[in-house]
């Protein structure tokens, strides 16, 4: 079976081992990302969940150095981060790409209009290898391009600290939002294994 090839198993319970391994990976990836955010000076994070962001949001919630603001709609988070920036906080907003679409008016008429920096961490639903929201996925990069928002697709967990550090420098220097697209593999999750 394909999964046996990708995840060689030496023991008795293949599924459990894959799950355990996947869980270890997601936790490790989440810790790497949250440590990188703290290392970049981020101290306030607005979030709205996606299942693929579960471990990341848990790490954000558990971090004592971060003010965590769970929002009900992503556009709120843009306002909260803008307000916090104006009084001296360094902020990040974590959401799914559907939430990025929800936030577009605030991104345009607050962040871009006032030249306010913000790190956007956007889960890339509908990315290649994802089975859901392919339309959202197909429009994510074009919309970022249309808004003139520079973005990077993050696939390697080990690159995350450096990319997050650089993205924070870029958003501060350009005084525009910068987006990091979080893929399944970055987050330690498996892309869909085979076609239906």
């Amino acid at each position: 079976m394909k999964c046996a090839l990708i995840y060689p198993i030496f023991g008795v319970n293949r599924i459990a081992t894959i799950q355990r391994r996947s869980s270890l990976n997601t936790t490790a990836a989440a810790q790497i990302i949250v440590n990188a955010l703290r290392g970049a000076g981020i101290n306030l994070v607005a979030t709205l969940p996606d299942i693929n962001l579960s471990e990341l949001l848990r790490e954000v919630e558990e971090s004592r150095e971060l003010i965590h603001v769970p929002v009900c709609r992503e556009e709120e988070g843009i306002g909260i981060c803008a307000g916090a920036y104006l009084v001296g906080k360094k902020c990040a907003a974590i959401m799914q790409n559907g939430g990025f679409f929800n936030s577009n008016n605030a991104i345009v008429s607050t962040l871009l209009q006032y030249q306010i920096p913000l790190l956007l961490l956007i889960y890339y639903a509908g990315d290649v290898g994802d089975r859901t929201f392919s339309t959202t996925g197909s429009l994510t990069e074009p919309v970022l391009q249309a808004l003139g928002i520079r973005y990077y697709v993050m696939r390697e967990t080990e690159d995350a600290p450096e990319l997050i550090r650089r993205a924070q420098i870029l958003t501060e220097d350009s005084k525009r939002p910068v987006a990091l697209l979080l893929t399944k593999e970055l987050l330690g999750r498996r892309p869909a294994l085979k076609a239906l």
Binding site: V69, R73, I80, L86, G88, Y114
Partner: protein
């Protein structure tokens, strides 16, 4: 009741509170009554309460006042449960409810059809939420809220009259810089920093 009369009372007790005001005439009227760099004008309809929440969370020792409108809050109702969840002790959220989209052709909002914004705030979990039925009551409630230690929400039913005031004196980017510099100076913190050129390394 007129919004301008309430704002006059608020200006007497606002002190050095940071004031975030919604897109619309309330911004111009407030700026006429308390001009200064501690005012931030919001241009995204709905975002006033969220921007104020971000300021209140980011600077917990400083009072923050949101001057919101019914059309604006109706567009961002989800900010109410988020404010209730975060419970910023230093935030006073005031909504002037004139039941129309005043800046957009005076079409009726949902509050004109019966929606109760104070009821929504309470149901969202903001316990200290009430209507102020007169200018005098508003002045008392606002002063108490600014001295208190819990997030407060005040609704005021007002008419659609506008006070004769001038235009806002600056654009968005200047507003941002002046506001940040004011916060830096008054809170004694450094926010905007620059670096030496690479040749100095």
């Amino acid at each position: 009741m007129q919004r301008f009369d309430c704002l006059k009372k608020l200006a007497q007790v606002a002190g050095d509170a940071l004031v975030v005001s919604s897109a619309g005439a309330v911004t111009l009227e407030w700026n006429a009554l308390r001009p200064g760099d501690g005012n931030f004008r919001v241009r995204t309809l709905g975002l006033c309460s969220s921007i104020a929440l971000g300021m209140a969370l980011g600077l917990p020792e400083r009072r923050v006042i949101a001057l919101d409108g019914d059309g604006s809050l109706l567009m961002n109702l989800s900010s109410l449960p988020t404010i209730a969840r975060m419970k910023p002790k230093n935030l006073l959220h005031i909504v002037f409810d004139n039941e129309v989209y005043e800046a957009s052709g005076s079409k009726k909002t949902a509050t004109g059809a019966g929606t109760d914004l104070v009821g929504l705030a309470r149901a969202a979990g903001i316990e200290n939420a009430q209507w102020a039925e007169s200018v005098e009551v508003f002045a008392q409630v606002a002063e108490r809220a600014l001295k208190g230690d819990a997030v407060s929400f005040i609704g005021v039913k007002v008419g659609t009259e506008r006070a004769p005031v001038g235009p806002y004196p600056m654009d968005e980017v200047e507003n941002k810089y002046r506001f940040i510099r004011y916060v830096e100076k008054s809170a004694n913190i450094a926010i905007l920093k620059t670096n030496l050129p690479a040749s100095y390394d």
